[in-house]
Symmetry: C2
Subunit: 524 residues, 2 copies
């Protein structure tokens, strides 16, 4: 029997129950112990920048919020969810969830009770800084955790990788080609994040159209193979392509032999096209030594009178491979009498697997932690100790700020208590920045050293109601470009980047130390 997943089942698996079971067992416990509707505050943040093994990120690009908000709107609890929960049983065969709790959940099981502040998508973000702050009734704020993390972790991971690829491409056109190697339907979120973070276009047809970008793509080896199998050959395949797409003619030249078959056949077809009044667009190289082949292809194309035809590169590209290819072209092109910059200007990068899966570091370890709970009278900061001092939470209701130096460069992010509003120090004022965990590391900023203090967290939802227009993807890209340009070049480095400072204000540092001491004594 084929147990097909029905459409209703897919909705169930992607809706309210797209979560870890423990969110729901905790929810029932909160309900039973009278904590259900106590107001709680959770911070979403990541502790470590992606580390790809031989290289690592100096910053991340925030992404995913828009789709998370869509999900929160759609994912109110449905009758089918209640029925599923009703059917779940513990080891003694008794129902796991009682009618009392399920009745509550049926009435209150929506995320429209939540208030949310967030750093906008596209902005550069750093470890330890709250990216999203969720406030609302304990149960619903808690249940949101899993779906929030699954959506924001992945998109931020991919937007970050895309930004690195775009940096390495020195402004060249980057095409996202990865859907076939993505993690199933996660492909579409990855495509969106890539477009936010640095890809100019994508081959992923459906989601590209939905997001308002024209998808890109020409042909695969199989087209050439088909013509060859029918005895017609590569040249006939190229001619058929040029005839069908006279103004979009990009030919994949490595099915048989790049330099001895593909490029010469492409030049023949390009000449025919030009005689008919069309300008050819490019060739694509998908295997072999892409730096060497780029130089040779450029040489042949130049000699044939096509110095402006693009050379599209694909095949396991990532930021380091692109960097190496460009370095090699710079070094070797002069030996062939070619200007390396002229070759590099005509390159286009099709980046697949290594972008859409963030090869080398496949998950951003974003977490979602309870930082404050209202006991009916006041907010009580919450903390979690840990074996590692670096992992102890920053407790309480907080703000997050970016400090710019005299040149306008971002010099540090500062996490404060919610009632602080840091300003550039004037006269004798001092701004004291604490390292998040090491008491011996502090930094004092004086007048003239801070040109601007910018709030990072902006109100997005007030009890489920959208209170801010979210940027569209072009606007997110502008935020990204502006933020990356404001980083010191050491932080932008692809390999072994300089560490950007994230600091705590004096009042937050003091609260954290007090809570650690008190929990160590009394928490048990």
């Amino acid at each position: 029997m084929l147990a097909r997943m029905t459409f209703a089942q897919q909705r169930l698996a992607e809706g309210f129950l797209f979560t870890d079971l423990y969110q729901l067992t905790m929810a029932q416990l909160y309900f039973r112990t009278g904590l259900a509707e106590k107001r709680a505050q959770f911070d979403h943040f990541f502790r470590d920048l992606p580390n790809y093994g031989d290289h690592r990120a100096g910053y991340c690009v925030n992404a995913g919020l828009g789709w998370l908000l869509d999900w929160m709107k759609e994912a109110r609890v449905q009758e089918a969810d209640i029925e599923a929960l009703k059917s779940m049983r513990g080891r003694t065969g008794e129902r796991l969830f009682g009618d009392d709790f399920l009745a509550w959940l049926k009435r209150h099981g929506t995320f429209e009770c939540l208030t949310l502040r967030a750093i906008p998508e596209g902005r550069v973000v750093h470890p330890g800084v709250p990216l999203t702050v969720v406030e609302g009734p304990l149960i619903m704020a808690q249940i949101l955790e899993t779906a929030l993390l699954a959506q924001l972790n992945y998109q931020t991971l991919i937007a970050t990788k895309a930004a690195r690829v775009k940096e390495s491409a020195r402004g060249g056109l980057v095409l996202e080609f990865g859907v076939r190697r993505a993690h199933d339907r996660g492909a579409n979120a990855g495509t969106r994040a890539a477009l936010i973070g640095g890809a100019d276009f994508t081959s992923n047809a459906g989601i590209s159209h939905v997001l308002g970008f024209p998808p890109k793509g020409t042909h695969a080896h199989s087209m050439v193979q088909a013509f060859v199998a029918l005895g017609l050959g590569e040249l006939a395949a190229f001619r058929a392509y040029a005839e069908t797409y006279p103004d979009e003619c990009v030919l994949l030249v490595d099915t048989i032999d790049t330099l001895h078959s593909g490029i010469p056949n492409a030049i023949t077809v390009f000449e025919e096209l030009r005689r008919k009044g069309h300008e050819p667009v490019g060739v694509r190289l998908d295997s072999g030594d892409l730096a060497y082949l780029s130089i040779q292809a450029a040489k042949l194309l130049n000699e044939a009178g096509f110095p402006d035809v693009a050379i599209v590169l694909s095949s396991n590209l990532d930021e380091l491979v692109i960097w190496q290819i460009l370095t090699q072209i710079s070094e070797e092109a002069p030996a062939y009498g070619l200007d390396p910059e002229a070759i590099i200007r005509r390159l286009v990068y099709g980046v697949g697997t290594r972008l859409i899966t963030s090869e080398g570091d496949t998950a951003l370890g974003g977490v979602y932690k309870l930082v404050s709970l209202h006991d009916g009278e006041r907010w009580q900061p919450a903390i979690k100790l840990s074996d590692s001092r670096d992992k102890v939470l920053n407790p309480g209701d907080k703000g997050a700020w970016r400090l710019y130096d005299a040149r306008g460069n971002a010099t540090a992010d500062l996490i404060t208590l919610a009632d602080e509003t840091p300003k550039p120090p004037q006269g004798d004022e001092r701004l004291l920045l604490h390292h998040p965990s090491d008491p011996s590391r502090r930094r004092t900023l004086r007048a003239g050293e801070v040109s601007r203090v910018e709030p990072l967290l902006l109100p997005v939802l007030e009890e489920g109601r959208l209170v801010r227009e979210l940027p569209d993807i072009p606007a997110m890209r502008e935020l990204r470009t502006r933020d990356i340009e404001a980083l010191n070049s050491g932080v932008r480095r692809l390999v072994n980047p300089h560490i950007y400072h994230v600091s705590l204000s004096e009042p937050l540092w003091t609260l954290k130390q007090e809570l650690i001491a008190s929990l160590s004594e009394n928490g048990r």
Copy 2:
């Protein structure tokens, strides 16, 4: 303005247009050149086993087919897809897709024309062997590529990782905990694959329910934090949990201090539970030195009279970490007067990020290649040359077989032409196995050396009609267990496994060499 993705847009992005644009530009070309309905055959296979950096797989576990078939059924072209294609424009502003092609597509844009053979889900599979063979009209068989790869690559990758985790756990219970770190909605496919490959249960509530497994989970640090923030402490949190779930009581003991707070408080609550007639289930350790803490937790629990309570481990587990933990327990437990095997028997493994993202190797490089095209009179084998001899396709319509040796162990997979039916050699018969690319490496099997030859590819679809009952997940798990047990132990090794032989038959080898020679001369 918030450009929310509507439900209709999500369907569009996950349906027929969940593909690379080039599949559609090629499709229009095939339509215009009269190749649209020529019969074509594509092989899906992977070239390389997952390599996680410091360790690598010796085999893969096949997964994803069931959901691919669901998708193929759902994803016929819709009016919205046609409208999207109609709106796409090239660089001169002209429409990319003509009315003639779109009219054809509207009529024929369904995968129900395809015939498909496949190796069943759950089976152990090896590089180069066709896992899925798709036959049908060139256009529709070609368009299927991207969605097929996105779905089968990921599930096979995760089923493989899960099998390794299960191997390292020596049969202990494995729980999939990764949804929060998965690639967005890809989580659900990953969960399914993990359940096929080696996870016993999952925390992912919705999809677990849909697949017929009870989801697993208890509580997070945030529950303890909430009680602490309210001044009630960890013990009160544990009591509340035990009261709500007296027969499901697994307590997370590392929020404050595992050995000095968590375990003692858990023991207090377990004693209270037992006095009320309930047996506690377990503790969970989520940070620190899990081997050391397992031993110490076992010691404290034993001394308190709870020698059977499970110890659930989580926190960045994978097959190597589990292997190291068990090794360390084996070495160190005796020094504390404990039987290591008794500790290991009570361990349960919650495996998250590193399973659901296949940490270390995030994409299976599965490909989908044209191997044969019918020219109206006969099938013409198709091939693609490559810079690397290893990457040259195995052409033509083929069969795939597993050979078992005299002990019943799998000794090689054999790829043949479709009209071959290899049998165990009898008397003076010889079975000649060619290395797929190296002419100097051949192997000859004689009578007595092959006990059984098993066909791997089974008919699944005949022109869209399901012709075989697909196994359910328990049956897939049986296939997996049986196949893994039939591997030589060297191939099962987690680190530096022995290479399993995949060979070509004499007739396939000969065809391949002829085509390479002919293409090198005439392909251009």
